[in-house]
Amino acid sequence: MLQTQNLQKIFTTEEVETTALNGINLEIIDGEFVAIMGPSGCGKSTLLNILGLLDSPTEGSYNFHGTEVAKLSERQRARHRKGKIGFVFQSFNLIDELTVFENVELPLLYLKTPSMERKIRVESALERMNMMHRRNHFPQQLSGGQQQRVAIARAVVAKPKLILADEPTGNLDSANGKDVMKLLQELNNEGTTIAMVTHSPYDAGFSHRIIYLFDGKIVTENFHV
């Protein structure tokens, strides 16, 4: 699915240079569920953003689906990202002006999916997340757990091969968090590759492999059986 070699990310401001990632060598295979853990500021989210083609590395190589994408422009990254990667964020990041249905529909609009097919796929995703009854509501009218379920529906509606989740349960109570993790696990069981940043050992327990980062480097990898 993806492979990085000696990946580096350095943030430069007028005064200082900060090394966020320092020589990351990582391979995630199709169908894998990987959790990325580590203390705050260790580079977890930076790594996730580069893997999700939202950002580009300063140095190193990144092979995504057989294509070297490390040096691609913003426009080229956007083209590769579309339909292949789904995102789930800690703060849900739903668009407040759109209804639940419209939020989930958005990735399909960008993919220019025909309207009938859009409707079927959105309804299917919402049914799966048990959110059909809320299809015409706006995000502010939903609980945190419901919003995250909508966010997951939006992430999966285009049937991406890879889902990147950045602390998906960070803003949820334990019951809702557990539901979300179960949903991710189900998606993974159906073949979707998942990379998830988390602070929660419980959530990490749903993954096949836990990668620990410290000061921008991978320090340990644990495999679950």
């Binding site: 950002d55 956007a78 339909g83 990041n93 668009i95 407040d96 002006e97 990735p107 960008y110 993919l111």
Partner: protein, 649 residues
């Protein structure tokens, strides 16, 4: 996708009412002002454009240059100039004279005063008019015929089919029947030629052949492509030959030494000319500089509105940065984001346009009142203007939407998703826009204050006399005895405080001082009462007085500016010669007061009380109590003494 953009745009408008209202209303206000000014400027520039021969018509104008180099410009000439020039200058294919008069008309139960125009019978060959009744080619040939507008036909005959009906008009001092030979459409509001009643000029007994007497508009029709400078040279030769004797007599009789140059003013230039203005019943002139100035203001206001729109959009972009990040993360390209923000901009723009149109429509009556115009909202619906407004719509939408769209869509998705967007410090363009917007706004505020103070000055400026509750009424045939009767009758109402006969505004005359200095001061013909009627003050000497019976033929009063212009050290007792003919002794100097426009400094003025010079109006001072009743009393008294005058109150 487009419907999604519009849906989002609409919800953004609804969800952020404060932002939407301030943005839409700001732009709408800017557009409304721009539309109103466009209407005004269009009206000014469209004056007379509908005349078929607009480029072939010229007005004969004249420049009078004194030996001292002072140049006076007249838009009028005399009765003789037109026919003489037409006869000898072969390029002239048609000539029309156009002079406004006021006539008393007897109706069934009253006598009314009506404005009418004496014109040559070829008037309708030069100036287009739509005849609703009658034949334009025969309309003005019979000297006893008149042509009237639909409005007057309805007023006097209650029908527009008035051809053959007659009106009893006080013409050349006797009531005569004139037969309506044509009824024309009311003239368009943007026409300089606003005649509602036309009478053939050959009906008039006036056979004035004076070359140095200017009181009538003369128009020539000259084919396009003619060398106008050459025609003007011909005028100079004709004048030198035909007016030779009159010029010599004038030089001998009243020391006339001025040089006259006759010129041709293109008809389309008249309305906006500041040198040769529309006069003698032609619709009042505009000012092209004012139009340019207003157009500049309209552009700047629209610019401010657009910049305001952009700045508000940028200010709000921080709130929407997360949305941009999300959209990018889930697959939107930059192009799609630009389209989205542009469609929002155009939607807001559309609302602003609709609101702007409503505001324009609502404000038009007030604007018409303020600008003394009759602008019609339908003016906006002409192909050229519609194109301009569509262009403004597109330009405003693009200007106002493109920069925020470009800025927002350029955000790095990671920075926006994690709330790390910082617009401060880097955005030079936005800073420049804000500085520009505030500078322009400050300029307009200062400009408005200056204009307010200027207008206030015009209202409150001490004119040197009491200009409140002062009425001027024109009346023909004023004699000493009639003036006495009118004064006595008027004063029966205690609200009438003072009455003075005066000559109508604004005669100028030739005056020479004892040192031989030639001057051309304004002349006021009046009597001893004027000092009280106007509230003038004396600087030295005295005003006319009934105690000095010789005043009417021997005494003159001058103002301070006259003394200054004449370099007179001790004016009282000095003799001045008026019109190179009559000698008067200066018996008093009045303090300067503004008797011409406030734009001018106070001009030299001389007062005489010689009845032979003729009066033409009453100046009446009334008290500020019960004014309507006093005005009715004044009307009754004037009408009782001047039953058939061309009087206007």
């Amino acid at each position: 996708m487009i419907s999604n953009y519009i849906k989002i745009a609409w919800r953004n408008i609804i969800i952020n009412p404060l932002y939407s209202v301030s943005n839409i209303s700001g732009l709408a206000l800017g557009l409304a002002i721009c539309m109103l000014i466009t209407l005004f400027v269009k009206d000014e520039l469209s004056f007379d454009q509908f005349f078929t021969k607009k480029r072939e018509i010229y007005r004969l104008v004249v420049e009078e240059r004194s030996p001292e180099g002072e140049v006076r410009k007249f838009g009028q000439t005399g009765l003789i100039h037109g026919p003489s020039f037409q006869l000898q200058a072969s390029a002239i294919t048609n000539m029309v004279r156009y002079q406004q008069q006021h006539y008393a008309i007897k109706t069934d139960d009253d006598i009314v005063v009506q404005s009418a125009f004496l014109v040559d019978s070829t008037y309708f060959n030069m100036f287009d008019a739509t005849f609703v009744d009658g034949n334009k080619y025969k309309a003005l040939y019979d000297p006893q015929s008149i042509v009237i507008t639909k409005k007057l036909a309805e007023k006097y005959f209650n029908t527009i089919s008035a051809v053959g009906k007659s009106l009893n008009i006080n013409f050349d001092e006797e009531f005569q029947n004139f037969t309506v030979s044509g009824v024309i459409e009311n003239p368009p509001v943007n026409s300089s030629m606003q005649a509602e009643m036309l009478i053939p000029i050959h009906k008039s007994k006036n056979r004035d052949n004076q070359w140095i007497n200017f009181y009538i508009n003369t128009f020539f029709e000259i084919p396009e492509g003619t060398d106008i400078a050459n025609v003007e040279k011909q005028f100079a030769l004709i004048f030198a030959t035909d007016a030779k004797d009159q010029i010599a007599d004038a030089a001998k009789e009243w020391n006339y030494k001025d040089q006259l140059t006759f010129k041709l003013q293109p008809f389309l230039d008249i309305h906006l000319s500041k040198d040769f203005k529309a006069v003698n019943g032609m619709k009042e002139s505009g000012n092209i500089l004012f139009s340019y100035f207003l157009s500049g203001i309209a552009l700047f206001i629209l610019l401010i509105a657009c910049i305001n729109f952009i700045n508000l959009a940028i200010a709000r972009s921080v709130e929407r940065s997360k949305e941009v990040g999300v959209r990018k993360a889930i697959g939107s390209t930059r192009k799609q984001l630009i389209c989205q923000f542009l469609s929002e901009s155009f939607l807001l723009n559309g609302f602003a346009f609709i609101l702007g149109i409503i505001l324009t429509y609502t404000a038009l009556p007030v604007f018409n009142q303020l600008s003394d115009k009759q602008l019609d909202f339908s003016y906006l619906f002409d192909a050229k203007l519609l194109t301009i407004f569509i262009a403004i719509f597109l330009l405003t939408g693009l200007l106002a939407g493109f920069y925020p769209a470009l800025l927002l869509s350029g955000f790095n998705p990671v920075e926006t998703l994690y709330g790390r967007i910082n617009l401060g410090g880097k955005n030079l363009l936005q800073k420049s826009l804000i500085v520009f917007q505030f500078s322009l706004a400050s300029f307009f505020i200062i400009f408005a204050i200056v204009q307010y103070r200027q207008a206030n000055l015009f209202v409150t400026k001490d004119l040197g006399y009491d200009d409140q509750n002062l009425i001027e009424i024109e009346a023909d045939g004023m004699t000493l005895s009639k003036i006495g009767v009118v004064e006595n009758e008027l004063k029966k109402d205690p609200s009438v405080l003072n009455v003075s006969p005066i000559n109508p505004c604004c005669w100028m005359t030739g005056v020479s001082t004892k040192d031989g200095k030639e001057m051309a001061p304004y002349m006021k013909v009046t009597n001893y009462n004027l000092i009280n009627t106007m509230g003038l003050t004396m600087k030295e000497g005295r005003f006319f007085s009934p105690d000095f019976p010789g005043d009417s033929t021997q005494s003159a009063i001058v103002n301070e500016s006259f003394v200054k212009a004449g370099n007179m050290k001790d004016p009282i007792g000095q003799t001045i010669k008026v019109m190179n003919r009559d000698n008067y002794q200066i018996v008093g100097v009045v303090r300067d007061y503004h008797h011409t426009s406030l734009y001018q400094t106070v001009q030299p003025q001389v007062f005489i009380s010689n009845p032979q010079q003729g009066w033409g109006a009453f100046l009446i001072r009334i008290s500020d109590k019960n004014i309507p009743k006093t005005l009715d009393h004044i009307k009754d008294v004037i009408k009782s003494q001047f039953p058939y005058p061309s009087l206007q109150i």
